[in-house]
Symmetry: D2
Subunit: 267 residues, 4 copies
Amino acid sequence: MPHPDALTIAGQTFTSRLMVGTGKYADLHVMRDAIDASGAQIVTVAIRRVELGAPGHDGLLDALDLDRLQLLPNTAGCRTPDEAVRVAKLARALTGVNWLKLEVIPDPRWLLPDPVGTLRAAEMLVGEGFTVLPYIQPDGVLARALERAGCATVMPLASPIGSGRGLRARELVKTVIDDATVPVVVDAGLGVPSDAAQALELGADAVLVNTALAEARDPVGMARAFRLGVEAGRAAYLAGRMPARDGASASSPTAGVPRLPDPEVPA
Amino acid sequence: MPHPDALTIAGQTFTSRLMVGTGKYADLHVMRDAIDASGAQIVTVAIRRVELGAPGHDGLLDALDLDRLQLLPNTAGCRTPDEAVRVAKLARALTGVNWLKLEVIPDPRWLLPDPVGTLRAAEMLVGEGFTVLPYIQPDGVLARALERAGCATVMPLASPIGSGRGLRARELVKTVIDDATVPVVVDAGLGVPSDAAQALELGADAVLVNTALAEARDPVGMARAFRLGVEAGRAAYLAGRMPARDGASASSPTAGVPRLPDPEVPA
Amino acid sequence: MPHPDALTIAGQTFTSRLMVGTGKYADLHVMRDAIDASGAQIVTVAIRRVELGAPGHDGLLDALDLDRLQLLPNTAGCRTPDEAVRVAKLARALTGVNWLKLEVIPDPRWLLPDPVGTLRAAEMLVGEGFTVLPYIQPDGVLARALERAGCATVMPLASPIGSGRGLRARELVKTVIDDATVPVVVDAGLGVPSDAAQALELGADAVLVNTALAEARDPVGMARAFRLGVEAGRAAYLAGRMPARDGASASSPTAGVPRLPDPEVPA
Amino acid sequence: MPHPDALTIAGQTFTSRLMVGTGKYADLHVMRDAIDASGAQIVTVAIRRVELGAPGHDGLLDALDLDRLQLLPNTAGCRTPDEAVRVAKLARALTGVNWLKLEVIPDPRWLLPDPVGTLRAAEMLVGEGFTVLPYIQPDGVLARALERAGCATVMPLASPIGSGRGLRARELVKTVIDDATVPVVVDAGLGVPSDAAQALELGADAVLVNTALAEARDPVGMARAFRLGVEAGRAAYLAGRMPARDGASASSPTAGVPRLPDPEVPA
């Protein structure tokens, strides 16, 4: 029986709406346990660092249970569309997976993606048969262009990568969600489960986190916390929130209730 | 085996950190199902409205599974300490329960509690043997005074009752949590599970919600969502969040990673 | 001719809505120049520190142009109502001024005022003929009680003293402003002129700042900035702001405008 | 003598950092008075609506004192780069002014600009000798690309046009300001002077407002308020704000101050 609220990306369905990264963990055991606790079914890996044996990336692919997990190679570290396309092809050759989290990040300080370069790279990669999930700023017009180019999702940032500041550009993320025809995955900047829940409550289809787990005091406990937060936010979205009000509203309205006469009650 | 992270109030332990109200529901069946779905073990009831048969309160006590639930009578609708004390005694006589959520609310517009009247009533009720859980504004000095008076918890508001605006006075709620010697229960104004999660992440021991469930499109689904949100926030608090940063921080640091040479990869 | 928008406190009128403190300045010259630049007409001084010759307070009263300024002695450092009343009398004896900024602050960590003690001290001081301006948390019920006790204003905090975090408890400050019958002066926690402007836009009658000036890189420049910010906020309050909207609204609406035909324009 | 803190755009200097629009006013007299009160030296006009005689745009150019004001024609209503370029040329032919506020807005709902189309149009217009001020989302990477293309400023939005919600995407606007080599003008979404002050305090060089003035109850009073708010924010930026703190910090530190002995003061 199909899950009543599955997430479908490029024809594949997932019951988890939490995606996770693999960077910054103290060791691969902690990483694996955190991924297990998160319930994530999609896991992203920086291909350049795997290839180059960057610290913490050696043996990374072997540590992942790829029978159960959808691998999502990413192009972290790529500054131009050409570089991203080359690394994408390397990723496919190396892993046999044609899903790609596309990152074109020329900005060394804020690690922000390039809108024009990302669109160009996405067009090329879709043409090469990739399933492309591009990382973008919360720009609704760019998101529409990427959909038209054939991307499988759009992944707007909540706040700068690794900042843990949460859903700071809430109104702009909302413009990406509105009228989206592909799943919206909020990526980057989420620090605590309430941030993830907010994104889902707003109508995002999923979130991706990495630093919030890897840098928690207890990454495995935090992974479980995010799993619950994502489920909470999605359940709230489906249940339909109360209206927010400017004023107060009594939980137990008094309209029509006579004032109590001085009661004679036993002490 | 004791629960590893139980909440203890006045010597009683609870595994749930979500308390719920009973007002504003369309009917008692929905209320009961929502309470079940919330996993709440403490349920508050407005005694005056029960006594007076206010709309929606007739048969309310019978609808609650009091074998499983700790009843928490409240003094909603009381404007003065004397009135609150009289209703408290009525509550005890009526229910046999000596727990009391103390509300002294003289303000018809914002439904805000009276700090001086609440402290006076609390002192009287503690002297009468009640277990007192006072509803207050997020005032750390008043909270300390209520602790000294023997209250079992303090219950600061997040934003005005029924407003659903969330944890607006975050910094002030933090001053109540800091150095508290009794459990802090954030009460009033929470609209969505992320609001509840935020309170727990900040260090609150529990939350109480009513309108957010009763006025959701699907109260039972929202009750389940809040249950998950509270569990997420508590788990995150225990796991220790990552530091929030002003700037960005790469998930997969590039320090020490040589730039990739032009790779020859198969298309 | 009377100023068209004067602030009246206890029968005295002021054209400035910015009050300032005298603590933390590098030296008294900078303080005096900053006060001049601020345009403030009401200046608060910690009497205990003056009396005790605390660092930076020696000669402070002589440095103020008391012909032009309304002195507002305060009871900073007092932890109980009795202590505050004693210092108030000392202030009056020392300065000949019966205005008093009442601070009863038992909390060493957050420097938060005691609601119950503040009300008690206010009642005593009003009885002794003082013009009392009490420092409080943003508690609308307490504010009403202080008005009834005869206070000349209420002074709710924006965020903890010296934190510079701005108007964090905006909704609660609003509950103090609503229905107030005496001027509301937002005091403590304002860090930049936009914070002050926000308070005035919300309907506060005035603000008081100290640390934001004294700890600026250029206290005199910042004093001028706050003067402008307060004037901006007041002018906006009087002019009536546009409604905030969820969506967008074109500055130059297109409704009824035919689409332009391909224009033949000269290059 | 040159103004000590002038704003320079494309070699021209201005003493005002507040730019204004001309849409939505009840009539041209109110518009003119509001522009006067704002002190603005740069005024933007929707050329298509002028040309087409859209409601409120008839006679608009004649109503502006173009001896004193720098006219800034804009391409509001243009959905594609080609359309914007054509309207830009029309604007230059019609007004003799080669400054241009570039708007390429394909999105009918949120009125958000197209990053790719805006960059393409900017490149063409710079090549045609225009002084280009492009309206963009708060995207630091796009901003750098527009600088490299020869734009005279970048104009990131604070929140959607006409929403009056203020500086919602503060962190992202900051990424545009950081390292900018041309002036940054925050445009769209500012509702009250404190919003404008915040933008200047953050380091923006100027702001542009329209709806906030035109839809105020008193547009002329609000224009004066914004003028003051912008001056306040700029002055604060230059003066260097105090650090924001998590905790409190006494205005009049008690360190080293002996506790007052019981004073014997006259009543």
